[in-house]
Homo-oligomer: 336 residues x 4
């Protein structure tokens, strides 16, 4: 059960509500975000919600039977949108394109990428400065210094930044330089990291776990929301299956399901979803047709020389073609 | 290695070729289909194919390193098309829509379905008369009598028929009444059935196994082709994964991969691919955008009363909407 | 619901029972096996089974809520045993060892294998004469002539035969020469084959499907039992997962679960379960400790020269060591 | 390539080696653990290792082609053992039993558990004070205060403690109170946590990821080892598959494979591996027979009242029976 509290509710009125709910056997968690105040109340007993609906300070009450509550669409019919400023909005009638290299490598690389993006009117650049790598001996990213170098150029170009945060201590280090924190597929259930991101007033995009269920992804988002941050984006990036003809199996089903179950925007990552450069385009277009609010993909001036993930990275010409087709596909879908 | 033989090759010239190849350590299988004569030669030694290319009766020679040979696109650059007659062609620039109930149930049901299809200019009707069921106590289909009843009406309406064949003895029983034999997901590796379908001059659509790999699907098609029947269609219908929010996981990646690896047309089955009625449309549209040559899906006058699979079956209004969107999506993709 | 009928029940008494059950909304399937007569009655309405229990001809009535009925342990507390004659019994307090090559190849190979088996007091030999192969160009087995050659030697040696049947027409061809029909992992849901095996009075061992669920395996066994043949064995042989360090993932969990859910004997196949020769022994011993009634594995005089599956085949010395350890492990388990 | 350095090597000799290796195109990482000094050198060029073997300060050089190096068995033939003091040794000829509740709950619960363990001569107690939970609203453990309460009693009883660490900041908080840090299945690829555990001089047990590969588990162990801590244990705890009859699929194959590929001890977790109380015993015994060095499982005075995981938790009587059978099974295996 989600109780939407009035922004101006007094402490005593709130206490009265918690007590009333408690008497019904419900345990309440208070949530305060950038946009609202909520009580998430969990219990088993059936009761008539009108019996508490009259209490002062309550704006609305909703039954939500899902395990996840605040990210469910059961209480919030209007889909959430995220306004990053400067006209960049995620969700609603906007197609979000996030493109860039797997790893931030050099000043020149960032410059070339930004030029490519601005020429194609792409407003969000992806890139990693902290890289999760299976092997401890692999390149692990440029770290904060890379972040600052990138930020300086991106701001000048009017381009927003999305980048992966791997641990709690990096949140503060990255805070001034990112527009969206990305939680990677290996950290989808790093609950401490999610807790801390709940305390931050910046958007967070959570990737589905390597073999995470749709429900687990939503529960991870619930961590951040219930921690106080409702600026959330979900990302489908392919799952691990027995099939080895592709790096992962893009779960196209997850897109309409997530859009139905949650009010949060959904982004698809075809680069990881299939992992093979020549097939990124059809999978990206399919994801839009299935209902995605946008695409995040890897592009590099010279994929063969990329520090990581070159085999799934588009060159700028392929990227430009993709962008055009994404927009036409999105327009068709919107016309339906 | 595939050696395309001249249609008019003499037996003695053929024997000379087989012998020459044999001396190089290659074992040859002779294949004669509706369209051509081939030698599929398998061996390990590298040699200059020009050294045998001059032998009389050889039209062309192709190296094919894949496990599957005849269905590979490595030797056949032009994609295969299937002409079912009466202007119904699968593959090429045609969008194939195959729709109908899970099970053929009654004369009236067939009549209603045909009316719905013809009103929407859909030329191929699906339906099962032999139903593979996990439980021996479940409805197993109307059998041959249902087939005949269906055939009579479909012919009158100018609509083609695709239906599942489950065992060798049914091939002859069904032969006069089907336009396309469908091999179901539980029979993808029923090699005896595939062998027998190789001897038949009717198109065969092979569904991917419940947890079959892309390579296994292509190898199953190779059985039919090498048996003498190159009228083949591949069908992606979702795979079994750990995710239980959908019945299967539609492997959208498989579509561009199959189109790249094979010259055969590829059909997608969103009904089984996701298994939930309300999400069939987005998955169907995504499959077209990913490159599918067509869609097979379940529709019924009254899904709630369907004998089987009602939860993933569209009603006729939903079906009509889907058909329109499929065509617009296909047109957009073709415009790229 | 399973109604055990008296062997001597009259037709009119049976009709009375079917009618009485029918009035309660239950649909009955009559099953007559080598051992008993049953009515499998399926319906939804709750009623007091004592209300029909008095009808003449009824020996016993059992509620069975599982999807599968006759193979469930809910109605048959005593586990089933299979007596193959000559002192060879599967199930109960017997450890069944079935060993032999993947494919029957030559007279000499059969002779060597039989010598190895009899020296180690192994009473059941495995071997394939019909081989399911992904590629149509691979060796497909010696067929019926191989079967006969094998049979002649095995009978002389007092060794029983288990061999895979791939299609309906092979049942009659093999009938005189096999002691156990094996249904392979690609045919677990070949329902027509299962139907026909239900009409046969020889034991049938059903392997779990390549990605079959435990419930599907039990439902496949239900096909054979309800067809009239209750001489059944279940076989766990590994499932398909994302892990590629082994050929399949031996589902050790399936062994105690199958033993709990069904009264049928359970055999484990470590050769396919892990697919790597050097690890067959630990997996085989683990399966016994988990509760298996026996093991089926591949052994060959010279695994490197085996026509198929050499990489997972033990040589005779390894096989002999394994047999000894299997017996000691089985004895320990029985002592608990 | 792993170069074992002499403990007393001078800085200048080390520099000489790094330079010599560098000239061959190899990049070296210096590793200093509790037990040794190593250079892990990665490069592609083949060369004769004897050409550098004579350099002063080198004890030994080993080629290791695996992605993981220091945890590989290719360079360390003798398996690693961990001595926890007071006669508690993991690995070698020792059977390690780690038992206790999912969550540490109350003083009384800890007391009862310790009594049960000491009566059965079990020397290591498991228990969670930081609990990873899918839902933010679930019980998350008693935290450090629970840890201290537990520690006090366990020390008095002479029992060692293993407990899960979820994030970097908890390492210091827990350090004085644990004997083994456990990395949970959701943190197997939390690389920052692994990095920090490399700096600690306490044993670390790493659980396989929820759908982690065997190779990923070994690479995660490599993080800790290369960070400076070679006191490592691997744990197989079941993987996520399509099969839903059990909570996870215990990958019994992983046990012999890990023992073959790595010199580290391997523990099996049957509680999570199957997730159903009544089947924990057969799976535990199977894991021992497959080669595990020990078992970690959940037991509770009253499983029905456990705060978490009650459905897979043994009561003390079941636990006692299991312990006895584990020891007899281990003895049999050791006798082979």
């Amino acid at each position: 059960m989600i109780i939407q509290l009035n922004q101006a509710i007094s402490e005593s009125n709130k206490a009265t509500i918690v007590e009333a709910i408690g008497k019904l056997g419900y345990k309440s968690t208070e949530v305060k975000t950038q946009k609202g105040k909520y009580l998430v109340s969990i219990g088993k007993k059936e009761f008539d919600i009108r019996s508490i609906g009259h209490l002062p300070g309550i704006d609305d009450i909703h039954r939500v039977s899902d395990e996840y509550k605040l990210v469910s669409r059961k209480w919030k019919v209007n889909r959430s949108q995220l306004d990053l400023g400067d006209g960049v909005v995620i969700g609603g009638n906007n197609l979000s394109i996030m493109a860039g290299p797997c790893s931030i490598e050099t000043e020149k690389q960032v410059e070339q990428t930004l030029t490519h993006l601005t020429q194609n009117d792409v407003r969000i650049m992806r890139g990693g400065v902290f890289k999760p790598r299976s092997s401890p001996y692999a390149f692990r990213g440029l770290g904060v210094s890379g972040m600052k170098m990138w930020y300086k150029q991106a701001r000048a170009a009017g381009v927003k930044i999305i980048s992966e945060v791997m641990q709690v201590s990096q949140i503060a280090e990255m805070y001034d330089y990112v527009d969206i924190f990305q939680v990677g597929a290996r950290n989808t259930q790093n609950f401490n990291l999610l807790d801390e991101l709940g305390k931050v007033d910046k958007p967070v995009m959570i990737k589905r776990g390597i073999s995470g269920t749709i429900e687990e992804l939503l529960s991870s988002a619930e961590y951040v929301f219930s921690g106080g941050n409702e600026k959330l984006i979900l990302c489908e990036r392919g799952i691990r299956t027995y099939e080895k003809a592709s790096r992962n199996t893009m779960d196209i089903n997850a897109i309409p399901i997530l859009k139905e179950k949650s009010h949060l925007p959904v982004i698809a990552d075809p680069s990881h979803g299939i992992g093979i450069r020549e097939y990124v385009e059809p999978v990206a277009l399919a994801a839009i047709m299935a209902g995605a609010d946008g695409i995040i993909y890897e592009t590099h001036q010279n994929p063969e020389e990329a520090f990581s993930d070159g085999q799934q990275t588009l060159d700028f010409q392929e990227s430009e073609t993709l962008i055009k087709k994404l927009r036409m596909t999105f327009d068709l879908r919107n016309s339906f």
